[in-house]
Subunit: 503 residues, 2 copies
């Protein structure tokens, strides 16, 4: 027990450094005065470096070794065994990475991101190309530290989504393409719903007030959180009792702020419901990026874009914006919220085309890592794939390969699967919760969300990071990870919306 207590004390200290870095990052995006940026970057880098040094201290490895017998004497799913197991996995992973490599990797990440922001603004892929070359090279090198992996992408995916392999993802995206491409085609044959009323002027303050009211009603505890504005919506965990969200607001778009808020609320609800006993430990946060996304996307889409949800909220929204929405019927509003339309951007894409955007990106990651596509060819191949998948070509690289930051943050491989894993798990959770509580949708129509939240808290949130994705899914719904519930959800919902005969 002495060893376990010492391990916990060390881990909690590391966690506090990381929490401080989290707050510094939150402030950087919300309130920091512009000239504070330079010092801030150095402060955050220093805290992260200290946390890393403390975690890779051989004394931690020693403690984990001492604890092996104790771990084996305990049930696999106990807090203590899970703590030792997950910490050992993290430790062994970190121990594989030489300090010089980590420095090189971190520096390339920071520089590439910086160069990308300008390259995007100036539509100049060539400017960032050598950095992206280096990123690809470093991503491959990272994977080489894990020679036992079946595929170069596996260690990269594992950084975000423990328990998921490249082979699994290849099948998953193949299956999604097979089902969703025909669905999009059928939808495109139909008359698109009217939605011009969504582009009227909706004052920012009213939008934000409404979003926050929704967030609270979904269960977001504002004594343990808050909402602020930032360029890109984020959720920041400073402690289990201090989980903050941000959103952005555009007065000519009713949905941006609201769905930003609901999405981040999903992340925040996850963290606010992790068991307090796990606080400050590596198992005291969300399981993986994909599981986190399964929470945000469940609340954003399966709840927030559902008809029962709006049965409760739409009269309230109409009362807030009587001039803009007084004459718009609930069904018209519901259809407008769920317009399917192939586009050039993943961010803001509808539910049906969203996973196809991720498929294109995942496939490109595989092609880059396997050497079938060169970085210098990326703009062209990006264009071709978008024409193939969506029938649309970006006019330039700004709307193409430069559109989003992910690959420019230092890694190619494992940067897109979590969005889709989030989608498919969201449908698994929802299906299972509905089976256990058939009254759930009727409750939502009355503005009651606690049955759903309690199901998620009990089956997902409370465990923190004790389990891998397959373990968590098996425990929660008794099945293997599968796209079937998600595909079925999309087919049913959009067949009804677009009057498709059979899906």
């Amino acid at each position: 027990m002495k060893h376990l207590d010492e391990l916990k004390a060390r881990l909690r200290e590391i966690h506090r450094l990381q929490s401080a870095a989290q707050l510094l990052g939150w402030d950087q995006r919300t309130y920091m005065p512009p000239c504070g940026a330079e010092a801030r970057a150095r402060q955050i880098a220093m805290l992260e470096r200290l946390a890393h040094e403390k975690f890779t201290d051989p004394a931690v490895g020693q403690l984990l070794e001492e604890l092996q017998g104790y771990e084996e004497s305990l049930p696999y799913d106990s807090d203590e065994a899970s703590l030792v197991r997950v910490t050992r996995r993290d430790y062994e992973r970190a121990a594989r990475i030489p300090a010089e490599f980590k420095t090189e990797y971190d520096e390339n990440a920071a520089t590439t991101y910086h160069v990308w922001t300008r390259a995007r603004a100036e539509d100049d892929f060539a400017a960032v190309e050598p950095y992206l070359e280096r990123t690809l090279d470093l991503s491959r090198k990272y994977a080489e530290f894990f020679p036992e992996a079946d595929h170069v992408i596996d260690p990269l995916v594992a950084m975000s989504d423990e328990g998921i392999t490249g082979a699994f993802l290849r099948d998953l995206f193949g299956e999604l393409r097979r089902h969703l491409e025909p669905l999009v085609e059928s939808i495109e044959e139909r008359q698109p719903p009217e939605r011009s009323f969504m582009g009227q002027r909706f004052p920012a303050e009213s939008q934000l007030g409404f979003g926050l009211q929704v967030a609270e009603r979904l269960g977001y505890d504002l004594a343990r959180g808050r909402q602020d504005l930032s360029d890109h919506p984020i959720t920041t965990m400073i402690a289990l009792d201090d989980v903050r969200i941000t959103t952005r607001v555009n007065e000519n778009d009713l949905t941006g702020a609201l769905f930003g808020t609901i999405h981040e609320t999903g992340h925040a609800l996850y963290t606010q419901n992790i068991r307090k006993e796990l606080e400050g430990l590596p198992i005291g946060r969300g399981a993986t990026a994909g599981v986190h996304e399964s929470q945000s996307r469940l609340w954003e889409n399966l709840v927030g874009r559902s008809r029962p949800f709006w049965e409760y909220w739409y009269p309230r929204l109409q009362a807030l914006f009587p001039e803009q929405l007084g004459d718009v019927a609930l069904d018209a509003f519901y259809r407008a919220l769920n317009v399917v339309e192939p586009g050039l951007y993943r961010v803001g894409a509808d539910e049906v085309t969203y996973s196809l955007h991720c498929a294109v990106r995942f496939e490109l990651e595989m092609d880059l890592l396997e050497g079938r596509v060169a970085v210098s060819d990326l703009p062209r191949v990006w264009r071709e794939r978008h024409v193939e998948t969506f029938g649309l070509a970006p006019a330039n690289d700004r709307e193409g390969v430069l559109q989003e930051m992910n690959w420019y943050c230092g890694r190619i491989g494992g940067m897109y699967q979590h969005f889709t894993l989030g989608n498919i798990m969201s449908a698994m959770w929802f299906e299972s919760a509905l089976e256990a509580h058939p009254e759930l949708e009727a409750e939502m129509a009355e503005g009651r969300f606690e049955t759903l939240l309690n199901w998620l808290a009990k089956n997902v949130h409370t465990h923190g990071r004790k389990f891998t994705i397959p373990e968590l899914v098996e425990r929660a719904v008794g099945k293997e990870v599968s796209a079937e519930p998600y595909i079925s959800y999309l087919k049913t919902k959009y067949s009804q919306l677009y009057g498709l005969s059979s899906a």
Copy 2:
């Protein structure tokens, strides 16, 4: 040079930990959700502990030793010699304090503060008395680590105000009493000015907007700072390019928010004008608590409560609040701003009685440390001294010995002199700036403050913490630290205001 570079690198790392702790503290007082407090206290304590550990690392002592020859080869006032000298002073001071004592001291500070907040709310001195006993005991013990000191209070004062001794302060407060008590008496014989118009309703947003406009005009750079609300106004230095102030606002009091803003702006201007080369080093912040207070109180009082200042600002304030102030003449407003009235509180006291409050407190610190007054007698003695000095007795301990946090933050001794040192230095700076720039007051009446700010930046701010109080005063004004300019300023100003024949 290798040694110097290594020392600087270590010191900058420590500074970044401290900066992170500063931001965590700022957030704690501004935006932190209520339930975040528990984790936050632990995060801050951990960052401070790490910074302390890194500073007291024997390797730092080793580097300082290696640098002794180099230091001696340089001019005393060079950045490098000052860095080594000041860092050595800090290091030797920290090295005297055993780690166990520091832990005991810090824990007592945290607990006592916590107990005090409740004791004050419940007017229950007995509840906090044993903690205050322990505080006195620990303060004495701290002083014992410096056996070369002439008086037990000297090492305690040096924690805040390097270069100032208890003997000096005893004389200073004696002198202030001799001059200010008769001044207060003469003023009390006069008719008090009308000031009921100050208590009208002044909407919060207008008050805050006006304050921020003043702050910017005084030279506060909002690209490198910002203002937020908190229970007690504070200034936080996160970096030389990120210096934030807070204020509080009461709609029935025109002066609280404004003078809070100007006071904190004074602190912020100091930090924003420290030379960038000193950033991240122990000499890259304000010289001492008293010197800091000399900046805040200069801008708050010698500028912000002066007639030239209001010649410029009063028409603008009237335009903002035409109903409330349209009929109030500038002179009436100026008199109302400068009402002298003995009271029970230091915070919010007028310029004339303010230093008398500090005198009472400093004398009680001496009495406690020398054993002439026991902690258990403190409520009674506090009452008696207030009757003697102000002719007023607090009705209870809430308005008495429990009124402010200072002694309940872990230390008795050195907790009050900096306010008065600030006052007397503010007058020294102002007198000297005016001698060099006789046009200064005429400029203020036109809303121009850059001549004064430049004088302060050049003679005080730029040096950071290179010099002790006597050194800094000698360099800036060519004199010894003296209360004379301050006493003379008060006598002149208040004789005019109250029509006293001779002062």
